[in-house]
Symmetry: D2
Subunit: 362 residues, 4 copies
Amino acid sequence: MSFSLKPYHAPDFTLEKFLNAPDAKLAPAPRDGVAPFDYHAMSIFPEYFKIGGEWLLAEESRMDCCAVCRGGKIHVVEFRNLFEGDLVVCGRTEDCEEGIYMHAFGFEERSGAGDTFAFRQNRSRETAFSRDYDEIYDLLRHERDHGKIVWVLGPAFSFDKDAREAMSALIDNGYAHALLAGNALATHDLEGAWLGTALGQDIYTQQSVHNGHYNHLDLLNRVRYWGDIPTFIEKEHIDNGIIYSCVKNHVPFVLGGSIRDDGPMPCIYGNVYDAQNAMRDQLRDATTVICMATMLHSIATGNMTPSYRVMKDGTVRQVYFYCVDISEFVVNKLADRGSLSAKGIVTNVQDFAVNLRKGLGL
Amino acid sequence: MSFSLKPYHAPDFTLEKFLNAPDAKLAPAPRDGVAPFDYHAMSIFPEYFKIGGEWLLAEESRMDCCAVCRGGKIHVVEFRNLFEGDLVVCGRTEDCEEGIYMHAFGFEERSGAGDTFAFRQNRSRETAFSRDYDEIYDLLRHERDHGKIVWVLGPAFSFDKDAREAMSALIDNGYAHALLAGNALATHDLEGAWLGTALGQDIYTQQSVHNGHYNHLDLLNRVRYWGDIPTFIEKEHIDNGIIYSCVKNHVPFVLGGSIRDDGPMPCIYGNVYDAQNAMRDQLRDATTVICMATMLHSIATGNMTPSYRVMKDGTVRQVYFYCVDISEFVVNKLADRGSLSAKGIVTNVQDFAVNLRKGLGL
Amino acid sequence: MSFSLKPYHAPDFTLEKFLNAPDAKLAPAPRDGVAPFDYHAMSIFPEYFKIGGEWLLAEESRMDCCAVCRGGKIHVVEFRNLFEGDLVVCGRTEDCEEGIYMHAFGFEERSGAGDTFAFRQNRSRETAFSRDYDEIYDLLRHERDHGKIVWVLGPAFSFDKDAREAMSALIDNGYAHALLAGNALATHDLEGAWLGTALGQDIYTQQSVHNGHYNHLDLLNRVRYWGDIPTFIEKEHIDNGIIYSCVKNHVPFVLGGSIRDDGPMPCIYGNVYDAQNAMRDQLRDATTVICMATMLHSIATGNMTPSYRVMKDGTVRQVYFYCVDISEFVVNKLADRGSLSAKGIVTNVQDFAVNLRKGLGL
Amino acid sequence: MSFSLKPYHAPDFTLEKFLNAPDAKLAPAPRDGVAPFDYHAMSIFPEYFKIGGEWLLAEESRMDCCAVCRGGKIHVVEFRNLFEGDLVVCGRTEDCEEGIYMHAFGFEERSGAGDTFAFRQNRSRETAFSRDYDEIYDLLRHERDHGKIVWVLGPAFSFDKDAREAMSALIDNGYAHALLAGNALATHDLEGAWLGTALGQDIYTQQSVHNGHYNHLDLLNRVRYWGDIPTFIEKEHIDNGIIYSCVKNHVPFVLGGSIRDDGPMPCIYGNVYDAQNAMRDQLRDATTVICMATMLHSIATGNMTPSYRVMKDGTVRQVYFYCVDISEFVVNKLADRGSLSAKGIVTNVQDFAVNLRKGLGL
């Protein structure tokens, strides 16, 4: 099976409803960080706004944010980043009534009606995942050279030797273009690289080493001593791990802070809204996003990731979004929160990563 | 790494406590299926009973059952299988006080004391499982030719194409000597083999087929029409799947009934205590047991599986017991119920099976 | 809020599709326990069959079973209970095409179309359950005197003092008309009544008592010694607990066997298909079913419980079905298996039972 | 049952090991935010340091932080808050060898050895929680007037009407002295107070209202418009909810930011380390901490909460710490991370809160 992108079917703007639609209403933000009360909130889907008689596509969208018209273009702006006077699109209909059109099915062939009964519509541990794996292998091979693959990793991912090695192999072989994570992932991954443990437990033998509860603190203190991660890696002769592979291969990583952090790492974003900005900067041109074993980062990333991307040549393509977690609750939560196009895989991420490595022949 | 069995250190019967111990007390069962009130209940560990001055090992033990002395040998008998007058060992101490000795550490080197603190002592999704996998690969290679590997499978195991194929490959290559399961596993596996679905959903594409909610019922009706599974396989030209591989390779399987069964399959044990007897018959000489994705069958099998086996030459060897499930609750429940030597692996069994196949090079 | 049953809207048989429909096709079962290959399988909804020009309602339905015409009436029969020659309804359409009509919306007002987006459509730990509780209180008050309330209990339900007392209070006050459970529920409930423990742990203080792992075995042995539960209760002066309350109030209970049983209890159904028959006998006239903390029994009961009941006066009323479990997986599994009208409540059943008791003022 | 604090048994400093112990080694922090490499890390237990021949107790401890000697007192300082030159206690033994003594059992009577077997040692959904509830009722009644009760709330807590009302009642009646939460809890609680929904779903009827996915955004925009929560409450005539009760009763609340935040609320701590400082300021004199339905905040709070508190009169008392969550994984994770004295309750927090309200007669 070889991968090909689904074509995007743009709306047919010659239809009556588009021709007859009024221009979208624009109203100024009453003050910094505040939208007019009847602002329009963005979805994950392509949305078009009629401005001066033209239907403009919001190019870099983000769920639950405002559409601001600046210089004849639609910018999608978080509430906190609005400036007083910004012209914000208003209106809460999505089928041209107010000059706003949401295009939810641009990548789909509409399917026929199904049976009255169909078992097993939700994804659970009992879903057959073989095809998802096969699709992901094909997708990653395509995206390696023609897309941007962003990984989002929870802290426990680095607790296991094989999973760490699998992730390193993916990075070393070009399958990662950015990494989003938190303080703990970096801490335990570097703890593993430096001391062979995660939270004091050997990442292969599972043995708790003497005074191992010091290990992650020692690691943090040592990185802070050297001042930054690359210097730590150099001075302490680190030669393995996820963060090491990122540094070696110049794969950017964003570490967002949280209230549970020890340390923290020198390069952490202590301000979470700065972290959001940095994460979104990595996601603006992402074409595939894979979240593993983190509810917090998965929801955050889901919020920031639209279902499509406008390429430099103006074509619109789909963005693939996977959420891999051992808990159905986490996997389903994204859908509950509006990240409707997220595909869930219910398993231990250790196995998922090892599967990817083997499936890609690394 | 190559596998070798841990040696068994038998008790040193020359110690005072053994020499001075009284004979174990034997009392007759007051009626069929009832033990004397102070009966001794078996553990999963080797237990020795002083009978006529000799320390006898219970050769085929089973947790929570009675030790019955018949013809100078210790038989471990379920309450329901006791006969009136059976001589049952009585006493509730385990260190020779009453002629009973439980040998809990026969396979272990006693380890030194640990730290006051040690994180992460329980098994969870965050445990590092790399080494467990490596050990299982080695173990299975050894047991293939020198042991008896019994698999215990939950119903959902057959819902996924790759998992089914992995299990078939394990069976075809000699890595399975018996299979314990229920009606649903056989039903959905044969549904997959016959119609390509599980509960009406394609086991590869995940598509719900038209009227697919009939599929498992049609399968059951068809097997019942043919009268037994082998005839169904022959007449309907079945050529794949777990049950097919068992039949082809003469691997015995025991299907225990449950109150949720449709059908059922012709060869099901409708009486659960007959099912227990049949399961235990397969487990008496088992050396490795792997339970996947079934709380009911895992607990049942855990109840029946001692931590050791007495080989034909009289040597005592360890029995390996794994419980693989996506839920920590299930994995930990075995320990809560006394199956202390069970090793838990927390993941989706689909991935576990595929890993085994790849790890064994099949 | 006071409770009233939703009226049942019978189909309008004067419509063309009913008038023009052919008689349902009847074909003989080719042998005992086997249906004709194109049998029609029942749903949980009211279904009507055109027989001799008349539309007959299946009065006591059961999902996934066959409709058999005997003596001018429709009987819903499990595959295993078919006799050779039974006239089985055939056909796999449900809108009169083959003389079969499934009436899925008899109790509902059809609602209008919703928004494109709506968060949180599945039930999870985050669902607001306040209204469900209020509805259950009203429902139980109504059903106490005008319905039949069947409880289905998992084994762990009896592990907690307050939960046991709450369930006893419900039984003592007329809120239980039958109880379906397994060997373990009865064992641990009676262990609690006799020895104050569950699996050896005090049901109030949580302390593990000395040799407590004997307690459930001693209990089983003692009940077996006395021969049946009522005699045990009398001879051992039991005065509390769920089973005690059932016996005292003449509430029938069905204990279905399983392969994990110790003992078992004397009154257990060792054959699971006999157990199914006994369970269905209690469910034929049930009007409210509440399953708590048992996946096995919940699925089994869900399979047997239709969404409606035909009362003695010929009116059709709704059957209420609740599944209470701490795991979303269990709660959602019923819907995955076709028990579409089951309402899930995600919580610890201890708290659920205590809430019911307080909400009903007991 | 009436509540009384367990007495604290201070170490007997007349014992040889204390008398013979050397002074603790102090070394200067090599730079801001960095500890000497052999720093001593604090536990949750009382720890004493021999300084100038005197054993000093660290009065306000925090796990995984450094002990700094300033002005003859021990201050427990996060790595990030160390200043160059701070004198940091060094050493990694805890039994006087290096002038450091950890007193892990100051509040306990050491219990005798238990059985070889004891089932059910971990806390799970099957633990009997009746006594825990009774103890919490007594504890809260005591702490209301003689302690400081800090609540830590996850976002979903405000999704249910009864749970919100229960929490408000607890606050209104003096059972809350501080609240720690995140942006989402405040957002959805105020959404409920203003619009009657949580994420657009009615908090009582569970109905999704039209355009309800705007509700939390409208709420955030409105609060941001008014500039702060108290002004919003006044201007929009809010008269119910958790945050409303806090404002009305002058109960301080700390809202820590996270990368998944929309909005955010005006009073949020965008910098998570400022949030940590503010949280710790509330926890320094906390005597009971109850975390509900939040892994992130529970771990964060667990990290900051020692097992004891030194009162103004110099006496040492126990700090009670509960973690209430529907997932065993979350409840057990605290122990995995070193918060050894945390007591877990496995249930839906909606029911837990309602139980507390009823148990306290509110």
